[in-house]
């Protein structure tokens, strides 16, 4: 039995990969992402957090790109290239973990809202709606200000404000899955809530969840940058804090385009990559989108 399931799963992964490969945009995104993630992971082998320390910034202030500083320097003579590299760790970490947190909350509440009809489901749904209409950026700002500035609080602030759309999506999918006849059969055979939600609903919403989470990471990275630009950061260099620095220290008036453009372009590139991947995933995993694309 389990062997059969294993083979089936392996086959479906292979089929999925075959489909995904045909999406050029999705593949491009995936490659960009892989490069960004690998670079972030190997960074400690080459540099340490010292590159973001102002005391060790020895270059000229706001110097244009040169051999010594390929992407120029910031207002304290630190290399923009090295700061971008080290800062990618913060940006990506916050992006991934915030998306993960949002996904976990969204999935649990979404499945609960879809599975438990009646008053329990209604309450969960109303709570979701309530969070959905909260202006998420303002809420995140307030949360981060109250909790104080650290990586964990920024992750929490982003995570708890971005889950409602995931929950809505998952609930809709749960309703669709639970309408299928085999759920009824399962119920008739005596399956409990736990069995149905984890064995039947979760595997069926998982692909959609993957696509939605990928898109969620992109928006979490943007939110992190926005928060950092507005002054809420984790005391660590990230692409958002670099953008803030370029604004605070008048990079625009000084003509230091590298200090503004580079972090901005990095955000654009990574967010774009996540979006391309997410869209490709959606197309592959959602049969309805696939047929539409085929027409």
């Amino acid at each position: 039995m389990s062997n059969l399931a294993w083979v089936r799963r392996q086959r479906s992964v292979q089929r999925f990969w075959r489909d995904f490969r045909t999406h050029k945009a999705g593949m491009t995104g995936l490659v960009v992402l892989a490069v960004a993630v690998v670079l972030a992971l190997v960074a400690p082998l080459f540099i340490d957090s010292g590159v973001t320390n102002v005391v060790s910034g020895t270059g000229a202030k706001l110097a244009p790109p040169s051999w010594d500083y390929p992407l120029g320097t910031d207002e304290s003579g630190r290399s923009v290239l090295l700061m971008i590299w080290w800062g990618s760790r913060t940006s990506l970490l916050i992006g991934f973990l915030a998306a993960l947190l949002s996904m976990v909350i969204g999935t649990v509440l979404g499945i609960a809202a879809g599975h438990f009809r009646g008053w329990a489901g209604a309450i969960v749904l109303r709570v979701t709606d309530w969070f959905l209409v909260l202006p998420s950026l303002v809420t995140a700002l307030v949360l981060a200000a109250i909790l104080g500035g650290s990586t964990a609080t920024i992750i929490i602030a982003i995570g708890v404000t971005s889950w409602p759309s995931t929950a809505r999506l998952i609930r809709a999918q749960t309703l669709a899955v639970e309408a299928r006849p085999y759920i009824e059969r399962s119920l008739a055979l005596g399956a409990g809530h736990w069995h149905i939600t984890t064995r039947h609903v979760l595997p069926n919403v998982a692909p959609l969840l993957l696509a939605s989470t990928t898109l969620e990471v992109a928006s979490a990275i943007v939110t992190e940058s926005t928060l950092a630009f507005l002054g809420v950061s984790a005391n660590k260099t990230s692409w958002g804090t670099m953008l803030r620095g370029s604004y605070d220290w008048g990079a625009a008036t000084a003509g230091a385009w590298w200090y503004i453009l580079i972090p901005g372009l990095c955000i654009v590139a990574v967010v774009m990559a996540f979006t391309l991947c997410g869209r490709a995933l959606e197309t592959v995993l959602n049969p309805r989108l696939r047929t539409r694309a085929a027409r």
Binding site: N53, V54, V55, V138, A145, G231, N235, G245
Partner: protein
Amino acid sequence: MLVWFLPMIKRWLGVLGALCLVIAIPGTASAAPQEATQSARKVVKVGVTQAVDSMNPFLAVRLVSGSLQRWMYSFLTVPDPKNLQPSPDLAESWTTSPDGLTWTFKIRTAKWSDGQPITADDAAWTFNKMMTDDAAKAGNGPAVENFTSVTANGQELTIKLKAPQASMLDIPVAIVPKHVWEKVTDIAKYEADQYPTVGSGPYVAVEHKKDQFVRLEANKDYWQGPAKIDELQVIFYDNPAAAVVGLKKGDIDLIGRLAPPDFESLKGDDNIVQWNTEGRRATYLQVNHGATTSDNKPIGDGHPALKDPRVRQALHYGIDKQKLVAETQNGLARPADGSIVPPLYKSFFWEASGASKIGYDAAKANQILDDAGYKKGADGIRTMPDGSRKLAFRFSIHTDAPSEEKLAEYLTGWFKELGIQLTARRLDSSKFTEETGTTALFDIAISGWSVNPDPEEVLGTHLCSRRPTASGQGGGTESFYCDPQYEDLYKQQQKELDRPKRADIIKKMQERLYADAPVIALYYPNDLEGYRKDRIASITPIPEDKGLLYGGSSYWPFYTVEAVTKDAAAESDGGPNPGLIAAIAAAVVVLALGGFVLARRRQGAADERE
């Protein structure tokens, strides 16, 4: 809870506003009062980034309101423009009794701007109002704390004191006309918004639109003769970037108190004079050296290591002030080798020299810490001699202050070399004031003070009596300091009426602060201003030798200011065009947003204190 994120919203609006201004430059002047029709009128427009909190001198606390008071009312005495020593203003002359407890001022024969004579009765009424009505103490209450009685006899004003007070010749109280003010029933609610105001200074306020502008006209009856210009306008901007744009395109003629980046952006404009002189401010670190309340009970959660003067001294050695000035102030400040009195006040300024001078020396700092038994752990961070706690300090700064963030980054870097971990903690200004001034929930905090020509006020902020009470009422301490030697010196200088001798005592007080390090002075920011030389022909600073234009404790610069006489033709502008209308619409949006923010801005932010 809402207040937590307002600074960030404010910042966001500021960004938006600045962007809009760049796009819609012609629209920014819509806040300015109507242009005078006769071109012969000499008008000088001053831009400020702080709104008037009140036109009522009994209530106002902000610097801009203080400046307006100096222009609208005479004080008993005023700092002399040459050497900043007290000199006659409304009081022509004065005498002191031998015990220093009775002061007699002779009020000069002059007229209020409504033609009524000025008598000692007006001055006596002003002081008595402050002594008897708590509401009238909001602005300058401490100034009359030491008064027993104030009486008037013709032009003679007699003030009796509880204890001798050397700063009697620097009383920052505007003398108001009794015949106008005695009709006011509730001083706390009175906005003094009847124009023209009745005053005795070089200018009379004739119009005030809240958060937009104040228009003043020269007082023709001023006892020194009318000012050289006809009209002085004070125009408010919500953010410095907008004010700088306003100066560049000629909406305003002068702006003071600029931050280094704004000041530098004025470079290259041939019509603008960049004014860069010594300032009246000192920026220092406040160290929680074991904060106590006024009944000597410990308060707050300061790190125990900071109680050790050796640790504080090591921190002092670990700071490269030269580099701080270069990096956080764009070099536009003077590194501090002294204490809380800036070098602008030459007679009271003290500076360490020789062996007692503490310069940047990380090796020495490490040596001090090693000798004191703070051993480095495996992670390079030192621990307390008993091993109980790591030397990890918090550093409290304000949200939304780029130069403080940069300062924090540098201190973090330098202290790391000493084996001390520093973590920046950003607080909005009301929480910051509470934690560093009352509840003592800090280790190290950034602070600063704009010092008056008589430094008694700033010296008083380090007295035992200024510590918070047991019930948690703030007393205005800047350090929670309580040192018998310092207390003693403070009392001595209070009694010493001989100026040079008093200056010596005040220098000793600064020396004590420097050595014991409850506060560590970092630098003295320069006074950065800009004015248009195509509008202002001449202006005399206070002090006359490289002093301040705006923000000094005197009417002198704006009494002596001379405008460029311009041709009527040069003034005329083209008619409105569609672009201008669109720009004005954009400006209205910006102003509405600005108004929203201003309406919510609280008083007493740290750098607004005088």
